[in-house]
Amino acid sequence: MTPKSHIPLSKVKKGSIVRIITLPDGLARTQLIRFGIVEGDLVKCLEHLPGGTIVIQKKRQEIALGSKLSHKIIVIIN
């Protein structure tokens, strides 16, 4: 049960600030932790490309996420 305000990152508009609620399990999660992204973090959606490839920014760190991954990351608009 996801509350109404919980949306996948792939649905987020360019420029919005979101809080990360859940990251998917597995390698992607490990790599994101290394990059500095954990559940509960605030990030900015820097770019939303057609098809759902998303670029997020946390401080000066920019990370590109494919649509399948951004679809599995659940966020809440801040």
């Binding site: 490990t30 290394r34 990059f35 770019e47 098809g51 490839t53 760190q61 590109a64 649509s67 399948k68």
Partner: protein, 624 residues
């Protein structure tokens, strides 16, 4: 001191070791850091010009080794953490485990990301010096780092540098001997220490605890799965430290970060991509492939070298004899092959690699990967696959090895098939460009159309046929930076020479085979046998068959063979389409078999035979 005990144990427990890592008694100084943090600049400063570059066994990962005082210095590939997720990490892991002292280079602008690796190295119990690089950019971004506090929190000595301006590097030299084990987390340290009996070193114990299969297998034990918890703890610890030591003004936009944004966005990104491709074409395709190579090949090659060698050899061997034909004939080992290698291939490959290395250092390629990600999804790939594709335009063989950076077997197979079929390599591309320029704009258009169509078709079909699905893109976008020319040149030199070293024997072998076939009349037999096919189905002159034989040896070699055949523009298109799709060169076939296994490789190989002649024939039936 627990450190001594650990080091002592380490020496006895290494079962397998890469031959690159020497057994010398000299202490090993290892440079470790995330990608694009300036490791090679520091490395070059320490080791001077006498360095030893080699590929790590079984990988394309380059390892650079040098000397500094009594130390052996190693540069390692950029990694975000130590484990075994990909080739870079495996190579770095092996060298880190052997290190006596680690110089950990940190990008001060991305300190939060980079300190994760630092903290992991500390948890491994290694002796460390931390270098905080890019102090100039830190100032520009108005970031303040409390170095004294950071030293206290981490427990290791720190030096700040602007490596490209050599600032702070003298201070680094003085600090190397002061490297020490950082502050240990008591609980973790105890846990690791209890594992020493079965694992041998604290560093390896940590890897086993973090679920690293390779290290666990090495010691015949099961990996423990505490990665998640350890990673989260480490991340929190790093974030706390960063919050204590960093003070920053609000993030301001710089022109470089704006360029970075623009190259991502579809609307501005496509013009930027076209611009980059056009400049690359002007440099490689026009300046080098046509003007420079035109000069070196005809003047140095045909006029000076070939005239001289023919003259010199004909004193001992009759030019019309069997040996004469093989050595100094039309496809002579000493004539055509030498000209081709030195005066055509060498400048081309150098030009290609310098362009690629330059682009790599700007930070543009990851943004390109991001922009094309969605489109690559339709071919069953993700954006990262654009890198082997671009590399393929340099050398299909090298690119086939690079498909290893793709995450799944499925993606590797698709990328390999596209490379072997539809991507012409730089040498071939040069000949194709030259021939198409002669054939006119319409010919160029048809050629590009057919090849792009095949490219899309292969990916789409394989994406439908192969089971499973592609892995999603997940990459860190480095800042856009102006490349350092000596860094670019060094990379280019290494890559060009390793390519030439690998290609040269095959060229001589191929020339000898063709020369022998010519001298024994086999070439004519082959031409006759295939001529109905060549003439009626492909509608080409019978001599074109020779090019296909040559193409078996090397693809570019085959395209070069088309040079001297009289063809009308549409015939040229058919011949070029066929030779582009046709069997790739022997080297790339061998590499494909090694990388993909005999079953997949054979299917792709046979596929290229059938595909090229079928498609070439269809095009011929339509346009000639």
């Amino acid at each position: 001191m627990p450190t001594n005990e650990i080091n002592h144990l380490e020496h006895h427990t290494h079962i397998e070791k890469s031959p690159i890592i020497s057994d010398s008694v000299n202490p090993k100084l290892v440079l470790v850091g995330n990608p694009n943090v300036g490791k090679s600049v520091v490395f070059n400063y320490l080791s001077g010009i006498y360095v030893d570059v080699s590929n790590f066994p079984g990988t394309t990962v380059e390892i650079t080794k040098g000397k500094y005082l009594h130390y052996e210095v190693y540069d390692t590939p950029g990694i975000y953490g130590v484990s075994s997720f990909n080739d870079e990490e495996r190579v770095a892991r092996d060298i880190i485990l052997e290190a006596d002292i680690i110089i950990n280079i940190v990008d001060g602008v991305h300190i939060e990301r980079d300190l994760f690796l630092t903290q992991q190295l500390i948890d491994m119990g290694k002796r460390i010096v931390v270098v905080i690089n890019f102090m100039d950019e830190i100032k520009k971004h108005h970031i303040k780092i409390d170095i004294a506090q950071l030293e206290k929190s981490l427990g290791v000595p720190i030096v700040t540098t602007t490596a490209i301006k050599k600032e702070g590097l003298k201070e680094l030299e003085q600090l190397i001997d002061k490297a020490r084990q950082g502050g240990q987390n008591k609980d973790l340290h105890l846990k690791l220490h209890n594992m020493l009996n079965s694992v041998g070193s604290q560093a390896e114990a940590l890897l086993v605890l973090e679920g690293d299969d390779y290290t666990a297998n090495k010691h015949g034990i099961k990996p423990l799965d505490q990665r998640e918890q350890l990673y989260i703890d480490r991340r929190n610890r790093v974030n706390n430290i960063v919050n204590q030591v960093i003070e920053e003004a609000s993030v301001r936009k710089h022109i470089t970060s704006l360029i970075g944004r623009w190259s991502l966005n579809t609307i501005t990104g496509i013009p930027i991509l076209l611009g980059v491709l056009y400049i690359a074409y002007l440099f490689i395709g026009k300046l080098v492939a046509q003007d420079l190579v035109g000069f070196t090949e005809s003047y140095f090659g045909n006029e000076l070298w070939e005239t001289w060698i023919r003259f010199a050899v004909s004193d001992f061997i009759t030019p019309t004899s069997f040996l004469g034909t093989v050595l100094i004939g039309e496809f002579g080992v000493l004539t055509m092959t030498v000209t081709y290698l030195l005066f055509l291939l060498f400048p081309l490959v150098f030009a290609f690699y310098i362009t690629l290395s330059f682009l790599e250092d700007t930070g543009y390629l990851p943004r390109l990967a991001t922009m094309v990600d969605r489109s690559m999804n339709f071919l069953g790939l993700n954006g990262r696959a654009i890198i082997p594709m671009i590399l393929g335009f340099g050398c299909v063989s090298a690119a086939t090895i690079t498909t290893r950076l793709l995450a799944s077997e499925r993606e590797k197979t698709i990328a390999t098939a596209i490379l072997q079929f539809a991507i012409p390599c730089s040498a071939q591309l040069a000949v194709i460009t030259a021939l198409l320029m002669g054939a006119g704009f319409k010919a160029l258009l048809i050629y590009v159309f057919v090849i792009v169509l095949v490219f899309i078709a292969i990916g789409t079909i394989l994406n439908k046929i192969l089971k499973g699905e592609s892995t999603p893109l997940l990459i860190d976008l480095p800042p856009i930076r102006v490349p350092r020319m000596n860094n670019v040149l060094q990379k280019t030199t290494v890559r060009t020479f390793s390519f030439m070293k690998e290609a040269t024997p095959w060229f001589f072998f191929g020339a000898a085979v063709i020369g022998t076939m010519e001298a024994t009349g086999l070439l004519q037999v082959w031409q006759k046998a295939l001529s109905p096919f060549t003439e009626h189905w492909l509608k080409l002159p019978p001599e074109a068959t020779t090019a296909f034989v040559m193409g078996l040896v090397r693809r570019d070699f085959g395209a070069a063979g088309l040079y001297d055949i009289a063809m009308d523009p549409m015939q040229t298109v058919v011949a070029l389409v066929t030779i582009t799709l046709f069997v790739p060169c022997i080297t790339s076939i061998l590499i494909m078999y090694k990388e993909r296994g005999w079953k997949t490789a054979t299917i792709i190989w046979i596929g290229t035979w059938i595909g090229s002649f079928t498609i070439g024939g269809i095009v011929a039936q339509i346009i000639v």
